[in-house]
């Protein structure tokens, strides 16, 4: 299993480099404690007061219940369509997991579902995603092969960096519709935790 974990770390490095190249941010965490510390630090630094998140069991080992004081946090369960939408539209950040990471392009793959609604990673200006290094695959083709043709979710979204546009004088600008910032907390047991 040792070689597997080394391979994961190599893919994690490739993933981080590719994501940074398109303007995404990566924070490496060696364990659950480091990951939670990163999350709390990012929320504090960014002045986040309202957080929306995917269902808690999709975020393990992160806990949205152990955030800093004064931060409200809402998951999708028990909310109506409109209430959920309005919470996401007014939130400062959205916290999600990621089903798969793609090393070649620094891409996160998220599947829509009951516990993992689409708006969480879309409406707030900051998207924070937790990715486990063992979930990173080399390229898009290997990622798509993980899904059976008969069991595709209603939406499978591949996210590669923040929202961007070049529509005005081809001047690259982020955050025109989707999040202006994308930050990945990458949980890799072999990594040196870093900011």
């Amino acid at each position: 299993m040792r070689t597997d974990s080394l391979r994961n770390s190599q893919l994690a490095e490739q993933f981080s480099a590719a994501l940074r190249a398109v303007g995404g941010e990566v924070r490496m965490a060696r364990d659950a404690i480091a990951a939670q510390e990163h999350l709390n630090a990012v929320l504090a630094e960014s002045g986040v007061q309202h957080l929306v998140h995917h269902a808690v069991d999709t975020l393990a080992p992160l806990s949205p219940h152990e955030l800093g004081a004064g931060i409200s946090a809402h998951g999708p369960r028990g909310l109506s369509r409109i209430d959920h939408r309005d919470l996401c539209a007014s939130a400062d950040a959205g916290l999600t997991g990621a089903l798969v990471g793609i090393a070649a392009t620094g891409t996160l793959v998220l599947a829509a579902g009951r516990d993992t609604p689409r708006s969480t990673s879309l409406l707030p200006p900051l998207h924070i995603a937790l990715l486990h290094s063992q979930r990173i695959v080399p390229d898009l083709a290997s990622s798509l092969r993980l899904f059976s043709a008969n069991a595709l979710p209603s939406q499978l979204v591949h996210i590669t960096g923040p929202s961007r546009t070049g529509d005005i004088e081809h001047d690259l600008t982020t955050g025109v519709h989707g999040p202006a910032r994308l930050l990945v907390i990458l949980l890799d047991p072999n990594s040196e935790s870093s900011a």
């Binding site: 590719a18 398109v22 999708p76 909310l79 109506s80 369509r81 959920h84 939408r85 539209a89 070649a104 392009t105 891409t107 829509a112 579902g113 009951r114 609604p117 689409r118 708006s119 879309l122 898009l140 083709a141 798509l144 092969r145 899904f147 043709a149 008969n150 595709l152 979710p153 209603s154 939406q155 499978l156 979204v157 591949h158 996210i159 590669t160 960096g161 923040p162 929202s163 961007r164 546009t165 070049g166 529509d167 005005i168 004088e169 081809h170 001047d171 600008t173 955050g175 025109v176 519709h177 989707g178 999040p179």
Partner: protein, 473 residues
Amino acid sequence: MLSPEGNFAERSSGAVTDDKLRKAVRKTVDRLRDLRRADELPDPKTLERRAKAQAVREHSVAELPQLLAQFTENCERRGGHVHRATDAHEACSIALSILRSHGAQRVVKSKSMVTEEIGLNEALEHAGLEVTETDLGEWIIQLAGEKPSHIILPAIHKTRHDVQALFEAESGMTLSSDTARLCAHARVRLREKFLQADAGVSGVNFAVAATGSIALFTNEGNGRLVTTLPRVHIAFLGMERIVLDLDSLAAMAEVLPRSATGQKLTSYFSIITGPRRADEVDGPDHLHVIVVDNGRSAVWKDPEFRDVLRCIRCAACLNVCPVYAQVGGHSYGGTYPGPIGAVLTPLLRPEERSANELAEASTLCAACTEACPVGIPLHEMLVRLRAREQKEHPRRLERLALRVAFRLLRSPRAAVIPRVLRLAASGTGTALLLKKLVPPLERWQRARSLPPAPARTFRALWQELEMEEHHAH
């Protein structure tokens, strides 16, 4: 649907004397071209990727009827509804009746060339619905009351000051011309529209036959918003934009963003399979896919031009085209500008003879064919279109002139012609006189300058080359 009046020469003569437009278009297409090259050239995998993509598209076109049937079955199995529209009018009517059946009044749209092609916005607005384009470039164009001038960057011909003025007029606010602030303004204005919208309209980059999915590549995130927030999602699919399975889709994802913007992958790439499931808290309740034929079946039946249906609308051919760089997208009149437009427009609209002249808007340098990631022989098709036009509507005078010129130039005595021309071009006075005496030359020179005569004539160079060739053997 050739939009602005007049022919290519009339439409483009305004463009070629508009220095601001030429600079704006030139700057951006050069940048897009360089981005694509920077990404592709050092990568030995480029050829391999393109070969795969071409094979996928060849298969798609060959098996089109079967793939469409398979897609329809699978999409409906997952709760979507698939409609077939023969022409633009039918496509708009289907959309309108879906919207009416849901009582939809406000519609948000993400970028889609096929909806431009069928004139959807006009049809919906005519029926009293509010339609908002949400792709930043498309919104700018909508506010300006214009048509896109580039497939990927519709507002390529607008400066930030133009955009500032349009946004100020729309909102009644005073804004700065800073790009980031203009984008922030658009985010706020358009977010309101998303939250109020009853229905979302999108295009489809690729439909997947084996899964019944539709795939969308976007950068801004408006495509995700359009397919997430409203209760109804209507997706317009150009009939040929279909691939076999997820492996084929992966192959296309390897070339589309690279060819379009030099990105390895767009910021967002969504694969949508059916409407939201019962236990999901967001996503549309209803998914309708409208498959648009609008002349494509006729192209499919034409062995000379069938391969053009491989096109994935990446716009790489626009960005390398020397003619597009000079005249901009509006000169082409139709929905699709550049070399692909010059081929596609006359094929999709055979009843509009004026579209045939677009094939003349080419130097036949073949840069388009070289840039095409799915191997469409665009320049050969342009020649075929010219031949077809000549056959149907021969230009007798032009043919006679060419026949005379051919005779004349072949004769050894023709060597005197370049000498006379060189003499004429050497003095400004004589050049002016020449322009006056030969009226077509004057017209030709309105937006061009006569190049200085080279040190040696072509005939002399040719003779030298022949000598070298002779010695080499």
